[in-house]
């Protein structure tokens, strides 16, 4: 099966570099290239590609907004953010907007192929470089307790410790203890990283994260 791919990036050199990567793979078909967000959104609606590679910063519409539109229109296009930014908050924002992949532009063709294939099949792909520890594939995280999963999910939605404590009917101090234990088990240093690692290791699913409360 051929994967139809759309590529949107305002920088011609990077765009042609990535396009070359995509064209090398026999199972991929690059159906369109766009140099801004508005054009990308038009082409996605028109061509309905399987995967769209979107730059975050683009003139017109930024990549995250395009991803949101795709999500709210329930289109069957899987989004991979393709960016120079390694900020974890961008990863979270992209995932919240419905993207299923986050890849840095320095990605190797092999990694990009894996990423495209993963998201085309409905999976989640995060660049190993977005958090340095995430590259460690051999790490097997310790199982989180049910309560710890709950704490992590609520905290990942941005709730304050106070609010998490209120919702779970536990003390703020207990929330902090749970968080510390979660970080320890996942090998993360903070909330965002814990969430990304939990997603990567399949401890929580993207759907759980996106669930509205």
């Amino acid at each position: 099966m051929v994967v139809k791919i759309l590529l949107a990036d305002d920088h011609p050199l990077t765009r042609s570099g990535i396009a070359e990567f995509v064209k090398r793979e026999g199972t991929f078909s690059l159906v369109a290239e766009a140099e801004d967000g508005v054009r990308a959104w038009e082409l996605i609606q028109e061509l309905k590609p399987d995967v769209a590679l979107l730059d975050i910063r683009m003139p017109g519409l930024d990549g995250v907004t395009v991803a949101q539109k795709v999500k709210s229109e329930n289109l069957n296009t899987a989004i991979i953010m393709l960016t120079s930014y390694d900020a974890q908050q961008y990863v979270i924002a992209s995932l919240r907007a419905g993207a299923r992949g986050f890849v840095l532009k320095t990605v190797s063709p092999k990694e990009l192929t894996t990423a495209i294939n993963t998201v085309a099949k409905g999976g989640l792909y995060l660049d190993p470089e977005v958090a340095s520890v995430m590259g460690n594939q051999d790490f097997i995280p310790e199982q989180l307790s049910v309560r710890e999963r709950e704490v992590l999910l609520l905290a990942a939605k941005g709730l304050s410790s106070k609010e998490v404590a209120r919702r779970l009917f536990i003390s703020e101090r207990t929330v902090q203890t749970h968080l510390a234990s979660i970080y320890d088990k996942l090998g993360s240093r903070n909330k965002t990283e814990a969430l990304l690692l939990a997603l990567k290791y399949g401890v929580v699913t993207l759907e759980e994260l996106l669930e509205e409360d």
Partner: protein, 466 residues
Amino acid sequence: MGYMLSRLKSKYSRTRSHFLAFLLFALTLPSVAVMLVAVSGMMSQERAMEAAVSSYVQDLAESMSYRVGSDTDVWTFSALSNFTRFPFFSWGPSIPGWVALIDQDGRIIIASPGAMNIAAIWRNDLPVGQAIRVNDKEGEQYTLAIYPVNRPGGGYVIAAVSWSQLLGGLVGVVRIWPVLVVTIALFSFIAIRLLWSRVVMPLRTIASEIDNMTLGKDVPENFEASTIREIESVQTALQRYAQAAIERDNLRNRYVRDIVKAQEQERMDMAREIHDGPLQDITALVQQLHITLEDDNGDMKRIKRTEAIAKSVVRELRALCDELAPPWMDLGLSEALTEVAERLSQAYDIEIIADFDDDARNADIDNERILSLLRIVQEAVSNAVRHGAANEILIQLSRDAEENLLLEISDNGKGFDAGNINHETLRVEGHRGLASMTERMALMGGKLRITSEINEGTTIRAIFKD
């Protein structure tokens, strides 16, 4: 602009001089008019009185000389026994003057009371047949007329009227009021002159001082000491204003100098970072490429090394960009704060907890203000680690009772005596951190509060509106 200003100024100064001229004119004109009227009134009154008195004494002398000339007895009888026949001579004080009959040698033959002082006014050059005004030795004024008696043997009739007797107090009043008016006019002139020299001229000096003053540079000092309190307070106010302008300018210059210095420092830091980082790496990259190209085997290990170097250049440049202008600030306040907190935690290897209350988390803050808040967090964390040796920092975002947003950065560091911060010393030593945090908050319409105690850690509070 300059042209408009000067036009505006000249327009105003013209109106101003018109007004003053009008004021002086309005004050002067009545005085002059009153004085002129008074003088002319006095002169015509004087002339009228003169004429009346003259004709009176002339008539008197003439009729007397006629009557005395036709009555020979008067020359033979003793004056005292016969003067009843001449009712003139018995009028006494009832006539405002006196008459006297004298012979050719000037001896008084007969005279009415009051004529005794004839000697005091008698002069040899007195004309005959015409009224004349003379003064006696006491300065008393008389108008007198001398008529020859028409009979053999000659003799003269002298009739005289004393001005003070004839017109009494009237003369005084008539003469005193022009004097009063003239005095009033004089005082007016003096007042106008004083007004000119003490008010108008100092005001002009002040105006020209203001014109010539370079604000922020000069303080007008060559004012003459003024006796007028209002002028003096205008002078003092002007001097104070000029002084304040100088201080303000100095402050601004110093501020600009500081900013320029900080800017240059930042550029130097940036240049050094680029030089030590990406530039070195790209140089190495080029070297590796050269070797690879010259190496016929196309050593894969070398190409892999080249790729690794290139990737590290990208990382370094990305970090540099993030440092210069964090791109994640457009994700929103809490995301930006979380990102910066996590990065700082990693960079300093300390624990930073970012905790945002529900009602504050989604506050709508524009990018410019988010950047300011990020810089405040960076500065606060950097201070906490470098000066306070803190290893735990809590960043909280909440709302206070007045719905203000409150960003609190509290650390467990050494703290300092917050009541004893000397901003000037800090400035001179090149520590603009606290000042720049405060300025950033002021610029976004908020406030910055620093609380700290020795061994109690430090809390920085940024209070602002969304």
